[in-house]
């Protein structure tokens, strides 16, 4: 801005330049402090996961990496902790990955076709269907914990992937986002397709789907994080080790604290963090765009 206003800024240009430099320095300082505050707990678990259980149990909080890293990670990967029923972290990771991916893909698939129906067709009950989907925004699983568990248990789906995933797979948010986007597809495109004799499914496959890739990528990030991080629902619906997810597994590992193997908990925590954080950072561009546009 000073460059744009030379005449006005000139008299105290030097003073304002100095002020700006000071402000820049302060900006960096505060931002770095923020970054450090965010990173501190991660640094602690990362370092802690490379020490033996006794070091951490004694309370000598290590600030620099130790030598036990490979051993700790190998141990949790193949056998989990030694205290409980020993669910290997590789099993938990697999379960979390299955849950996260199926929730993500399921939500995207189900909501893109229902948004297509609502946006491109006219049929009796269209608005009723739309509102039925919309209203589920007001019924998150947290507020209907017990009755939903009852339904899933009546269907015999406790301790199954289906029971874990199916109830979470309807998504009002994704449907609304796709519908919003579909309304911006120009009518001329639809007319041209109809004139060429393309039916609705052909139009969906050849035009709508390719146009939606950015939205799909953005939703993928948001929904993958949502799926991977589920806690309350898996806690209710899984009691057996075979379907235990990693987020649940860590909390169970801590248990009553007295004999917790903290170094293993720390290694497991690092492994639990890695996939969703990697997805957010690697797909940052779509994520930021998607997040800000989905919610607005």
């Amino acid at each position: 801005m000073p460059q744009a206003l030379p005449a006005i800024a000139a008299p105290d240009a030097a003073a304002s330049e100095a002020r700006r430099a000071r402000a820049d320095w302060l900006t960096h300082a505060i931002l770095l402090l923020g970054v450090a505050l965010f990173a501190l707990p991660i640094w602690l678990v990362l370092v802690g996961s490379t020490h033996d259980a006794a070091t951490i149990g004694r309370g000598d909080v290590p600030l620099l990496p130790g030598a036990e890293g490979p051993a700790n990670y190998a141990a949790v990967w193949t056998q989990g902790d030694t205290r409980r029923a020993q669910v290997a972290v590789s099993t938990m990771m697999f379960n979390s990955a299955v849950m996260a991916l199926l929730i993500t893909l399921g939500k995207i698939a189900i909501s893109i076709v229902s948004a297509y129906a609502v946006a491109f067709f006219s049929f009796p009950g269209r608005m009723l269907c739309f509102w039925a989907i919309f209203i589920t925004l007001m019924l998150p699983v947290e507020v209907r914990i017990f009755p939903t568990f009852q339904v899933v248990s009546d269907l015999g789906l406790v301790n199954t992937y289906t029971g874990l995933i199916l109830p979470l797979i309807a998504s009002a948010t994704a449907t609304l986002l796709f519908r919003q986007f579909f309304l911006t597809i120009p009518d001329e495109l639809v007319e041209a397709a109809k004139m060429d004799g393309a039916g609705p499914m052909r139009f969906f496959k050849d035009v709508v789907l390719p146009l939606s890739t950015t939205n799909i990528a953005a939703l993928f990030v948001i929904l993958f994080v949502y799926g991977w991080n589920q806690y309350l629902w898996p806690l209710l619906i899984t009691t057996s080790a075979e379907v235990e997810t990693i987020v649940i597994g860590i909390v169970k590992m801590i248990g009553a604290e007295a004999d917790t193997e903290w170094n293993r908990v720390m290694a497991t925590t690092v492994l639990a963090l890695l996939p969703p954080v990697a997805v957010v950072i690697l797909m940052q561009r779509w994520f930021v765009k998607g997040l800000v546009e989905t919610e607005k």
């Binding site: 707990p41 189900i110 609502v118 009852q150 199916l166 039916g199 609705p200 806690y231 309350l232 940052q284």
Partner: protein
């Protein structure tokens, strides 16, 4: 709202909507209706007989001092998380919006906590605040402050608030940053020409222009603190000590799953549904209409 050019046919759109509607009915509407129905019923201690008791479950609920304490906990927790997460995010966003070197890097380094599960965030905070193995917890005890969030209710509340806010800052940060970037540069230049200093310029020009973002985030943060923090509480304090960190969701879980009190848990679910509806209505009415600058 509607397209002019559409495809004909009714069978296909119904087929396309079927999966979503089926799941919605089976796992959303049916359980919600059951919750409402159960909230009027009461089972005896052995689950043998069930009788219709009208609004008694609700009367009992709101006369229960423990439940009222849980309501109070939830309000304190939610307001503290919202205020802290929004204030820190706004400060960081304003700074990251300045034309400095490395803004993209700062953004990357500030958004990743969004990806951390609430329960995992809680585990990270154990390693900070645990009185025996936590970095800060040990330091506090070393300084002679009796720190143990497992015994002291206020300390427990402080730790769950910090963990919950820590996780939410990155979300708020992204929205504030987007909000700041959408403010027309001409407005800021006009204020600069008028000679307003940066801090004054922020409070008189920028902050009012951010009000739609701020109000939107207010609702989102309250919703988050109400409903998405179950994992944080379960992993850190299990609602203790002495129920000091029990929130509405945690209580509904304990009554439904642990105490198996069907009537009370359902009544709590219904109360929560009313709360979500109120928050959603506020979001759609108040925010869309009133906050035009």
């Amino acid at each position: 709202m509607r397209r002019k050019v559409i495809f004909s046919g009714t069978a296909l759109p119904y087929a396309l909507l079927a999966p979503q509607l089926a799941i919605t009915v089976v796992f959303f509407f049916w359980p919600a209706a059951e919750a409402v129905w159960y909230s009027f019923l009461r089972q005896d201690a052995f689950g043998i007989s069930t009788q219709f008791v009208g609004l008694e479950n609700f009367e009992d609920l709101f006369a229960d001092p423990l439940y009222l304490q849980v309501v109070r906990n939830t309000l304190v927790f939610s307001l503290a998380v919202t205020a802290l997460a929004m204030a820190v995010a706004l400060l960081l966003a304003v700074l990251a919006d300045r034309h400095i070197r490395g803004r993209e890097t700062y953004r990357t380094l500030l958004i990743w906590p969004y990806a951390v599960a609430p329960a995992v965030a809680a585990v990270l905070y154990i390693f900070l605040f645990h009185p025996n193995i936590g970095l800060l917890g040990r330091a506090l005890n070393g300084m002679g402050i009796a720190w143990d969030y497992r015994l002291n209710g206020d300390q427990a509340m402080l730790v769950v608030v910090l963990a919950a806010a820590w996780k939410q800052v990155s979300y708020n940060f992204l929205f504030f940053l987007a909000g700041l970037q959408s403010i027309p540069k001409s407005v800021l230049e006009a204020a600069a020409i008028d000679g307003a200093r940066p801090v004054r310029r922020f409070w008189t020009v920028v902050f009012p222009l951010l009000s739609p973002t701020t109000f939107f985030l207010l609702v989102i943060n309250l919703t988050y603190a109400f409903f998405d923090t179950f994992g944080i509480i379960d992993a850190l304090t299990k609602g203790g000590p002495a129920n000091a960190t029990q929130t509405l969701i945690y209580r509904a879980y304990i009554d439904g799953r642990v105490n198996l009190d069907l009537g009370s848990s359902s009544a709590q679910s219904v109360a929560l549904m009313v709360a979500v509806m109120a928050l959603t209505l506020v979001q759609f009415r108040f925010i869309e209409r009133k906050v035009h600058y």
